[in-house]
Amino acid sequence: MTNLPTAVSVDVPATAVFVQVLRNVVAGIAARLDLPIDQIEDIRLAVTEAASLLLEEGDATSLHMSVGRDGDTMEVTLTSDGRSDPWPTDRVTASWPWLVMQGLTDEVRADRAEGAGPSIGFTKGRERVDR
């Protein structure tokens, strides 16, 4: 695996067009971590769903994505500069995108750090395959 010493992060405008950029960034990093292509696609789809939930809040102007690695596990967090409070609402955790993220990743969480906007993060470990 390529060494990923610190988290890679990127800020984009909070529009659907730039979600594509986030998808490509996360796929590029996952590829460099030698993840198999089906798991890369899962991560890419999960980023899309997370971004769509944050964009639905409507008041965000920028999206921040950070991608880190802990051993064989990739950690991705998306944060918007929106003001949604409380966060996450039941509507978010009972939504279709949330269900999809749970199906694609190991663990999904939504929280809101002090002084920061709403965020959605997930982890995805390399699946071991018996050969």
Binding site: L35, I37, I40, S95, W96
Partner: protein
């Protein structure tokens, strides 16, 4: 053709060389950007052209331009080989996508899991960025033909998915999560249901529907994309 009858008349040879020089220059440019000066490449390509003129046999029925192109490319490849360059023939995105698609299918079967981008790049002898670009293009723009035969059987993907539909009851709870699911074709809805509501893995779904894992992966991506577009229209 008249000129060829006058060979080995030196003036006929010169006339042909002049006429087809642009062809040599074209291939020299196509092989440029790999660390060799364009002038050297043009010279090599011109040598290839002269060889082609000397060896061409009009009786064989192959157009001279075809024969010359092959000889010029051969000469350029030899030029790179002599200098120890691993020469990669330029490919366009579509050709790369087809190559990557084929490579992934084979490797997925051989490895019993999805290959990594690095593995695909090494097997197909292309760059990792090319692989990523091709995968992106494949996920986004190609819809696997559901009428394509599955494996060695004569059943099509559409038929094998239909066989699951008979025992498949869509839960109303599930549809209420994403109303646009109702507008998806039934087979795509089935795959999304199995993947996200029943929590089945891609491998399990592939086995159940008798299609490749790659096909399942692609159908999941495409139906999620379609679903999002449908939801936006509501």
């Amino acid at each position: 053709m008249e000129l060829f009858r006058r060979l080995p008349d030196p003036t006929a040879r010169d006339a042909l060389a002049t006429e087809f020089l642009p062809l040599a220059e074209y291939f020299a440019r196509r092989f440029s950007g790999r660390g060799e000066p364009v002038d050297d490449l043009t010279q090599t390509a011109s040598l290839g052209l002269l060889n082609a003129i000397d060896r061409f046999d009009p009786e064989r029925g192959v157009p001279f331009s075809t024969y010359a192109a092959a000889t010029i490319v051969g000469e350029l490849k030899r030029h790179f080989r002599d200098r120890g360059w691993a020469l990669r023939v330029p490919r366009n995105v579509q050709e790369t996508a087809i190559l990557v698609n084929r490579t992934v299918s084979t490797m997925w079967q051989d490895l019993g899991r999805a290959p990594t981008v690095g593995e695909i790049a090494r097997a197909a002898d292309i760059g990792e960025d090319d692989v990523l670009q091709a995968l992106d293009a494949l996920q986004a723009y190609t819809t696997d033909s559901l009428d394509a035969p599955v494996g060695d059987a004569s059943t099509t993907a559409a038929e094998s998915i239909g066989s699951v539909d008979r025992s498949f009851q869509v839960s109303e709870d599930w549809l209420s999560l994403a109303p646009a699911l109702r507008d998806l074709p039934e087979r795509e809805r089935t795959i999304l249901y199995l993947r996200f509501f029943e929590g089945r893995t891609q491998t399990e779904i592939a086995g159940e529907l008798g299609i490749s894992q790659m096909h399942v992966s692609r159908l999941v991506s495409q139906s999620l994309e379609k679903l999002r577009k449908l939801a936006e229209e509501v």
